[in-house]
């Protein structure tokens, strides 16, 4: 019996495609972000509020992943920017190949910002690199404030935590100070924004965060 050391990534094929995507985004000066949360935390609502704030000539596009239906892409296409649905047909996450295929015929030279809305799931998407510059995790106050402790992987790997639906704080038992503390326990120094897609609170800071990251990413070019 021989033991042969391999020392490679299980997802090396995904990582290879993700690296190709990342290089392509870099070449085209595109900021790509990967939005991840549980189902119902408000990823699509955040994107709606984001897209409606952009000027009509903004060079932005959205890929949205779901197991079934193109409801989200239809919701997002109303704003006049390219929006494409990726239906995974049962798979609980997006992978780099699905993103590359979905981008297929899009002229990347016309884009500055690509937002990928992952399948609603706090576990599986954390394993798959999509070539993004940053993962962003959403947590709504209608959920438990201990989610960072329960799902450490995604909170450790995300650059930003968006605490969404904060207009509901008076009606729920969510302890927002605790949520922030737990997030930073898992990810020291994690950036956190408090947002309401209903009242618009925090949306300016969110757009500024994206703009700042885009400047940082494209100045490395």
């Amino acid at each position: 019996m021989d033991r042969i050391p391999l020392e490679k990534k299980v997802l090396s094929e995904n990582d290879r495609i993700a690296a190709r995507l990342r290089e392509s985004f870099r070449e085209h000066g595109i900021l790509c972000v990967n939005l991840i949360s549980s189902p119902g935390s408000g990823k699509t609502s955040l994107l709606e509020r984001t897209l409606e704030r952009f000027p009509k000539d903004a060079r932005v596009a959205v890929l949205t992943g779901d197991i079934q239906t193109d409801n989200d892409a239809r919701r997002l296409a109303r704003f006049g920017f390219p929006a494409k649905q990726i239906t995974t047909g049962g798979t609980c996450h997006l992978d780099a190949l699905r993103v590359e295929r979905a981008l297929g015929d899009w002229p990347l030279e016309n884009l500055d910002l690509l937002i990928i809305e992952n399948v609603g799931n706090l576990v599986c998407p954390s394993s798959y690199d999509l070539g993004e510059a940053a993962k962003i995790v959403l947590l709504s106050v209608a959920e438990g404030e201990d989610k960072p402790l329960k799902y450490p992987s995604i909170f450790a790997k995300s650059e930003l935590l968006v605490l969404n639906k904060i207009d509901l704080l008076p009606y729920v038992s969510f302890d927002i100070a605790r949520a922030r503390e737990y997030a930073r326990q898992i990810h020291p120094g994690m950036e956190i924004l408090e947002v309401s897609c209903t009242t618009g609170q925090g949306l300016d800071q969110w757009i500024q965060w994206l703009e700042k990251l885009r400047e940082a990413v494209t100045s490395d070019k």
Binding site: D2, V10, L11, A156
Partner: protein
């Protein structure tokens, strides 16, 4: 539950390696799974056994080595394994430590019989 996709990726990799060694029979594959990998070892073992059954690779054993999260302390250059959620440096007590590992999802080795 994406462990089935991960198990399938492991099998693809084993096949690819086996093709490079005609005549050799792969009996075991070893993987390293980090605490932050987002992969549950038990579910992975189950998915793997289901996928292997009845294929040309059957029987193929899967050995999972769990790997803890590690943090590095920039103040005293100490790297440590994280137990529970405590990320503070056990040597100098600094709370400002940096993620230094734990998201492994690696193929470590194959065992083959010629």
């Amino acid at each position: 539950m994406h462990e089935l996709s991960i198990a399938s990726a492991i099998l693809d990799a084993v096949r690819k390696e086996a093709e490079k060694r005609p005549g050799a029979h792969v009996t075991k594959v070893g993987v390293r799974i980090g605490a932050l990998s987002g992969v549950e070892p038990e579910a992975l073992s189950f998915g793997f056994s289901v996928l292997v059954r009845g294929t040309d690779l059957d029987p193929l054993a899967l050995e999972i080595e769990p790997v803890p999260r590690r943090q590095r302390c920039p103040a005293c250059e100490f790297t440590f394994e994280v137990a529970e959620y405590s990320l503070a440096c056990p040597r100098c007590a600094s709370g400002e430590t940096l993620l230094a590992g734990g998201d492994e999802l690696d193929l470590a080795y194959l065992e083959v019989e010629e």
